[in-house]
């Protein structure tokens, strides 16, 4: 247990002084594991983890990123924002709400939160700034909207959860839809709250005539087509969720071509962009695997399980404890690491308490999403600050508070009313 605390403190310290996250996790995991098993065994553990890193299931990550890149370069993200803007840009806070609606739409054709946030940043940040929205509020809105990407299907994180919990991925995807829409509503209310307190935070956009509105709406057909391709193929039984990523990427490529946006440069940039994102993300997965192996040795997970066993909480209390735990871990880890490290310990407890594992998966993902927005490790915020250099993350984190409150309300609603999650999958 002491080792666990030392490891966690060292991790936070390393990460805070801008040591690359994967390196920090990997080194602490490697040295910590060697503390128990010796350096020779520890290096074999690292080699084994490295060899297993590229699995069939994880092909969804580069493929969904590739799909997002094509969608971005075909101008679909821009069209989504324009359509939302045409209808509600005129409201107070209208551009922020447009950004959230467009993110929600984009989530329906993107499997990863990072890809969503990065694309929507390019699309919605410039207009928000030009109408006088502050840097921090604009980016906070986009970071929050980006989290919808892992809840509204398709979703890489739901696929990973489904594999770890042995739950049907198609059902998990359906289960994410209503909570994702609820997230859009609550984020919109959060924008409303900010604007109600400070009119200048969310200036109105320009008036858009009705003819323009309808034209903008028609432009989103590509998004709908792509969503129907991926989801229709999945629920129609033409391909699996994993294959859906490959089909979605090819569909996005085709769509870019149909829309006349395909050039050799676009093709190259989409692929090379996916290569770069993959190269940045997978070291973190490897680092978290290595770190997880160290954490398993520390005995901390068993201590936690024993402790929960000793107090033998009421199921509702157990759920509360588990949600708190995920919030806490979300401060330090990104979503994959959190799932890989905790599932083996948490799942048996939740299952024994009689909770539905599809419903629990959604609760976990919503909770983990909050972690994407909180310091010190708020993945979405760092993605944005790496897109727009010279912006300090501190004020963005402060501007995110209303959105995080909205997320807490969402977790509470989903916990109190499981039907919000389970109604759609029960129809399958």
């Amino acid at each position: 247990m002491t080792e666990f605390v030392i490891g966690l403190v060292a991790l936070v310290g390393f990460i805070l002084i801008r040591i690359p996250v994967a390196l920090a996790m990997g080194i602490i995991g490697f040295v910590g594991y060697a503390h128990y098993m010796g350096f020779s065994v520890s290096s074999k553990m690292v080699a084994g983890s490295a060899f297993e890193l590229g699995s069939y299931m994880l092909t969804v990550i580069p493929l969904f990123v590739l799909m997002g890149n094509f969608v971005a370069s075909s101008g679909l993200g821009r069209d989504l924002f324009r359509a939302a803007y045409a209808f509600i840009g005129r409201m107070p806070g209208g551009l922020a709400i447009s950004a959230i609606l467009a993110s929600g739409g984009f989530a329906a054709i993107s499997g990863s939160s990072v890809a969503s946030a990065a694309t929507m940043a390019k699309v919605s940040y410039p207009p928000m700034r030009s109408f006088g929205y502050s840097e921090s509020f604009s980016l906070a809105t986009i970071a929050a909207g980006g989290t919808l990407g892992i809840l509204i299907p398709p979703s890489v994180v739901l696929i990973i959860y489904g594999i770890l919990a042995e739950q049907n991925i198609a059902k998990l995807f359906l289960a994410g839809i209503v909570p994702g829409l609820l997230g859009m509503v609550l984020y919109t209310l959060a924008v409303g709250f900010v604007v109600a307190r400070d009119r200048d935070a969310g200036p109105r956009g320009e008036y858009v005539p009705w003819s323009e509105k309808w034209r903008a709406l028609r432009e989103v057909w590509g998004v709908i087509a792509l969503f129907v391709l991926v989801m229709g193929g999945l629920y129609g039984g033409v391909f699996t969720a994993t294959e859906g990523a490959g089909i979605g990427a090819s569909g996005a490529l085709l769509l870019t071509w149909i829309r006349g946006a395909m050039t050799l440069a676009v093709l190259r940039d989409a692929f090379l962009g996916a290569v770069r994102t993959t190269g940045a993300l997978f070291p973190i997965l490897l680092g978290s695997t290595i770190l997880g192996n160290f954490i398993a040795m520390t005995g901390a997970p068993e201590t936690l399980a024993d402790w929960i066993g000793d107090i033998d909480p009421h199921p509702a209390m157990l759920l509360f404890i588990v949600v708190l735990l995920y919030l806490f871990l979300g401060f330090f880890f990104e979503s994959f690491s959190t799932l890989f490290i905790t599932m083996p310990i948490i799942l048996p407890l939740i299952d024994a308490a009689g909770f539905d594992l599809i419903w629990f998966g959604i609760i976990v993902v919503v909770t983990i999403e909050i972690g994407l927005l909180t310091p010190p490790f708020g993945m979405n915020v760092f993605v944005l600050t790496s897109v727009f250099r010279n912006i300090a993350p501190g004020p963005v984190f402060r501007a995110l508070i209303p959105f995080i409150v909205a997320d807490f309300i969402r977790v509470a609603l989903l916990a109190l009313f499981p039907a919000l999650v389970l109604f759609l999958p029960s129809q399958m």
Partner: protein, 153 residues
């Protein structure tokens, strides 16, 4: 470096196309590609290490930049941390490469289920890519910050 990038991109395109062909073949001709799964997985194993090599060569690491505003004022400290991390990355990659050679040696005789492809070949490729990445990381340290990063300071 460019060659690595394009190799990774080609493999990714290959994985994407294999999915399309697999889905198409079983839909149109009722004939699935029996080995689609294992070929995809092997391609994936190799591709991600090519991607990592690209990221390492261009000093593209996910970092938490919370204290950057402070560090900007103490630029020697930032340079030191980045230099030390760069050296640590190079060493970690080299160590992993060597450990992967050991793993590859132990895989001799192991084959995939359908095509009977040698599993060790994948491990050897990963090992070589890791060692190449270590060299690229070391070069990135020697060459100093890229233009991109210099703009930040």
């Amino acid at each position: 470096m460019q060659a690595l990038e394009y190799a990774a991109a080609l493999i990714l395109a290959g994985i994407m196309l294999l999915t399309v062909v697999d889905v198409g073949a079983r839909y149109a001709f009722q004939r699935p590609i029996a080995a689609g799964f294992e070929v995809t997985e092997m391609a994936m194993q190799v591709m991600i290490y090519l991607c990592i090599a690209v990221a390492v060569a261009s000093n593209d690491h996910i970092r938490v930049t919370l204290i950057d505003p402070v560090l900007k004022r103490v630029s020697w400290l930032k340079r030191t941390i980045d230099g030390v991390s760069g050296v640590a990355i190079a060493m970690a990659l080299a160590g992993m490469g060597i450990a992967m050679i050991g793993l590859a040696a132990g895989k001799s005789g192991e084959v995939t289920l359908v095509l009977g492809l040698p599993v060790a070949a994948v491990a050897w490729t990963i090992a070589l890519t890791l060692i190449l990445s270590a060299a690229l990381a070391a070069y990135a340290v020697v060459a100093g910050p890229t233009d991109d990063e210099a703009e930040d300071d």
